[in-house]
């Protein structure tokens, strides 16, 4: 069978980095092809070249057997290449139809476009009302807009970049059905993910990249998740090691009736949230993105201050009125979900980024002056202990890959030995090897007596890591349950809450 897409010896060099080194593989029509690799392995760069966002330095792209130069995304779409990005580009205040119309290269009258949208939705079972405002849609529904937008162009190759990271288990299953239907009709799919069990369930072939080079092309159904992960990181994978006979200590972090005000137009505030985390406990908060996780993290970190001193207490001491600096001094460190621009400043060096949160706890400031030597030393320690791939403390944070920046941020907070650590999406977009290292560091911190709150959309992560689990939905938190007692289905239904039509009666009272 002729190849739909063939890459031959693709090489891309950035100053100081070889992002892709002589990568060759091929995708046949109707194939679901996984592209697998650690962060910084070169997946995104490769895909950007296929979609015309960047040009290869060497090598050839063959489309239906003909060598092509994809000058820009518009040219890629003309060839029949569609792409669904990890981050959606949608206007929340506009309707589905308006959003799709804005993204089209050709100008199509509204009525005709709507008819075509409805035809595509019918064909692939993508349920969506074209006249709904995007702000009222769940993340899964928003993703469907992006998929419909790509399918309207009748693509012969669809690139999906980490599409499931924000979906509930039920939504993932629906997505897979659509993708299988597409493939059955001859559309090839290039599927980028680091969730190995999904790749096993969905993909026909997997191409594994490591350090910019192709290490293996294999049949994921014939491999185990573990064997693929090991190929990806090039070493044996470590399991999380927990101390034997762990006993949880006294309540350390107590949150009672915490509320936040609604700030943005489409922002979900925290509504009457209460929970307790004991010393040594890892407390997981599951939920679909956009259900108040950001407000909860800000309210715990101190970016949003409470007007009740005792809404949040550490060891019985009320910290509700303190700002982030005050709370850090009392032992509470936090890591927000957004790395670049929130947890770290991209235009600053790593060393300067350490000053952002560690300056008071680690004595980096004397009489208002910054001890940059201390910041550099500490940053060097974080880089070494958390195996951050960076040239040194003087590297710009923005030059690190997402996973490496996350390792640095997690290391920066964990090595401060906080007595309470609140993290959101600790391993979002991070590869298996780095995720395992971060998980182990969290477990070790808990074993040393800290109370840890993990807010995540990744159920596998929460189930592997946490002692206790609760679900956040529309700003309200479900009662906490020991992790061993809850099933994935139960959590999925709680997460679906208002958005999922499956079980409206499962919303926590």
């Amino acid at each position: 069978m002729p190849y739909r897409l063939q890459l031959q010896g693709i090489t891309k060099r950035f100053p100081g980095v070889l992002a892709n080194d002589d990568v060759s593989f091929a995708v046949i029509p109707g194939e679901i092809h996984a592209l697998l690799g650690e962060n910084g392995a070169g997946k995104s760069t490769l895909v950007k070249m296929i979609y015309g966002i960047m040009q290869p330095d060497a090598g050839e792209i063959l489309w239906d057997g003909v060598p092509v130069t994809v000058a820009n995304p518009k040219a890629a779409r003309r060839l029949g290449i569609g792409m669904v990005f990890q981050h959606f580009s949608l206007f929340e205040a506009l309707t589905v139809l308006e959003n799709i119309a804005l993204g089209m290269d050709a100008r199509i009258p509204g009525r005709e476009l709507e008819a075509r949208i409805r035809a595509v939705m019918l064909k692939y079972g993508l349920l969506l009302d074209p006249h709904r405002t995007v702000a009222t849609l769940s993340v899964g529904e928003r993703q469907r807009i992006e998929i419909v937008r790509a399918l309207l162009l009748d693509p012969k190759l669809l690139i999906m970049d980490e599409p499931t990271s924000v979906l509930t288990p039920q939504e993932v299953e629906q997505l897979f059905e659509v993708l299988r239907k597409l493939a059955a009709q001859g559309c090839s799919i290039l599927y980028i993910s680091h969730k190995l069990h999904e790749i096993k369930a969905l993909c026909d072939t997997a191409t594994i990249l490591r350090g910019g080079r192709l290490v293996d092309t294999c049949d994921p159904k014939a491999e185990t998740s573990r064997s693929m992960a090991e190929k990806m990181i090039g070493a044996g994978l470590k399991d999380i090691v927990r101390g034997e006979g762990r006993v949880l200590g006294v309540p350390k972090l107590v949150v009672s009736r915490l509320r936040t005000k609604k700030s943005g137009h489409f922002d979900v505030p925290v509504d009457d949230v209460s929970f307790t985390v004991k010393a040594g406990e890892i407390f997981g908060i599951a939920g679909v993105a956009g259900n108040g996780q950001n407000a909860l993290l800000d309210a715990l970190s101190g970016e949003i201050r409470s007007d009740d001193k005792d809404a949040i207490t550490i060891d019985g001491y009320g910290i509700g009125l303190l700002d982030t600096t005050g709370r850090r001094k009392r032992g509470l460190c936090a890591v927000p979900e957004e790395r670049n621009g929130h947890a770290a400043v991209g235009d600053f060096t790593l060393s300067d980024n350490s000053i952002l949160t560690a300056r008071d706890r680690l004595g980096m400031v004397m009489l208002g002056l910054i001890n940059s030597g201390a910041a550099r030393t500490y940053t060097g320690k974080v880089i070494a202990d958390f195996a951050v791939k960076a040239l040194g403390p003087g590297s710009m944070a923005g030059s690190l890959s997402g996973g490496n920046l996350q390792k640095y941020i997690m290391g920066r907070e964990i090595l401060q030995k906080p007595s309470v650590l609140v993290v959101s999406q600790p391993t979002w977009g991070v590869d298996a090897g780095a995720a395992a290292a971060i998980h182990q560091a969290l477990v070790d911190l808990a074993a040393a007596g800290s109370a840890i709150v993990v807010i995540s959309q990744d159920l596998d992560e929460l189930r592997a890591l946490c002692d206790t689990l609760a679900v956040i939905n529309m700003g309200r938190l479900s009662p906490a349950r020991p992790v061993a007692e809850v099933t994935v289905e139960e959590i999925g239904l709680l997460m679906g809450g208002v958005h999922g039509a499956e079980a409206p009666d499962a919303i926590p009272a």
Binding site: F14, P15, G16, V17, M54, Q55, W63, D64, V66, P67, V68, T69, V70, A71, N72, A75, R78, L79, S301, G302, E303, D323, T324, T325, G326, R328, A334, P336, E338, G341, H342, A343, A344, V345, G346, D347, F348, D352, I355, L356, T357, R359, V365, G368, L369, I370, S372, M396, G398, S399
Partner: protein, 361 residues
């Protein structure tokens, strides 16, 4: 042939230094062409404006005197702009600073004592701060854009001069001229090089630049300004409140503009006159950007802009260039600088378009 901008992995340090120089060179080239095209001696204009002030040793003292207020105000603005606080009204704060100093000078008229000048300086700085705190208050309380309020207050301050020197502060011996009386000796800024017009404000400007550089690069205050400007969300996470930062930025930039004002009125002017607002406060915006918002760079940029002021005056007399020419050259410099800045984060790359449509049939 087609070019496209590609994002660099790290901002180019080289370009940070190259673009200001390139902006000055481009200004000279384009300026020569434009003024030739409209019938002046374009090459001569560039020579008179940019080179004569440097080659003629007699003009060096003028350079120092013009550069001093530009540097002092520019340093303050560079600090505020780092934090994305856009104080456009330094001219107004400069005027109020000058008026506050004038007030002290008139109150102490005829007195002697070493304390008079320091008191004037203090009053000038407080005046500038007070005037800058109006936009700060409006911004932090009502979220009113500081660009508009600070700019509009400039025009108010100029009217205040006109009122004061026509009525309550008018020189009783001035034969009706709208100006104050000449300050007494103790209220005048001493010259530091005998026989020249170089006054104490010149070394003060350099010291202000050096102190500001140290504070911006080494202190938590400087860190706060930089982080708020670079990533406001991260700044909040790091424990720096936005409102406090706005206040600090406005007070520092307003205070320094006020300092420049009082040094100017006690130095070159030695009395308050209607011609006191000389647009130093606006030109200092160009100085701050040309100096890369870095106090050391501001010192250099202040001298460059002073050259265009002095050179503009030279060109007026020698080749009859209109006074507005200086403004045109200064504006071109800012234009080329801001346009060139894109090369710090992006590189220009050639793409070959001919095969772009291959395979679509």
């Amino acid at each position: 042939m087609q070019f496209r901008l590609e994002k660099r992995r790290e901002p180019s340090r080289l370009m940070t230094y190259v673009t200001p120089v390139a902006a000055v060179v481009l200004t000279m080239l384009v300026g020569a062409v434009i003024f030739s095209a409209i019938g002046y001696d374009g090459v001569g204009a560039v020579r008179e404006i940019f080179l004569t002030p440097l080659t003629n040793a007699y003009k060096w003292q003028d350079l120092g005197v013009k550069a001093a207020p530009l540097i002092i105000i520019g340093v303050g603005l560079s600090i505020a702009y780092r934090a994305n606080v856009w104080n456009i009204g330094a001219e107004g704060q400069y005027v109020i600073g000058g008026l506050a100093g004038t007030g002290i000078a008139l109150l102490t008229y005829g007195m002697t004592g070493w304390w008079i000048l320091p008191l004037m300086v203090l009053a000038g700085m407080l005046g500038g701060m007070a005037y800058a705190s109006i936009p700060a208050l409006l911004k932090t309380r009502l979220n009113v854009n500081e660009i508009l309020t600070s700019l509009m207050l400039t025009y108010v301050s100029v009217q205040l001069i006109y009122y004061l020197i026509r009525a309550p502060w008018k020189d009783p011996m001035g034969m009706g001229f709208p100006q104050t009386r000449l300050f007494s000796e103790a209220a005048r800024l001493p010259t530091i090089i005998p026989g020249t017009i170089v006054h104490l404000g010149v070394p003060i400007a350099v010291v202000v630049g050096l102190i500001a550089w140290f504070i911006m690069s080494r202190s938590v205050f400087g860190y706060r300004m930089r982080v708020v400007g670079a990533a406001p969300h991260a700044a909040r996470y790091g424990g720096f409140s936005e409102n406090k930062t706005i206040w600090l930025a406005m007070l520092v930039s307003g205070g320094l503009a006020g300092l420049a004002g009082v040094l100017e009125v006690a130095g070159p002017f030695q009395r308050m006159v209607p011609g006191f607002p000389t647009n130093y406060g606006f030109t200092a915006i160009i100085v701050a950007f040309l100096g890369r918002l870095n106090p050391l760079g501001v010192i250099v940029a202040g001298v460059v802009l002073a050259i265009t002021f002095v050179g503009g005056e030279v060109a007026q007399t020698t080749i009859g260039l209109p006074n507005a020419a200086t403004g045109i050259f200064q504006a071109m410099m800012l234009f080329f600088l801001l346009a060139g800045d894109i090369l710090i984060k992006y590189r220009l790359r050639r793409v070959v378009p001919q095969a772009a449509t291959a395979g679509t049939a």
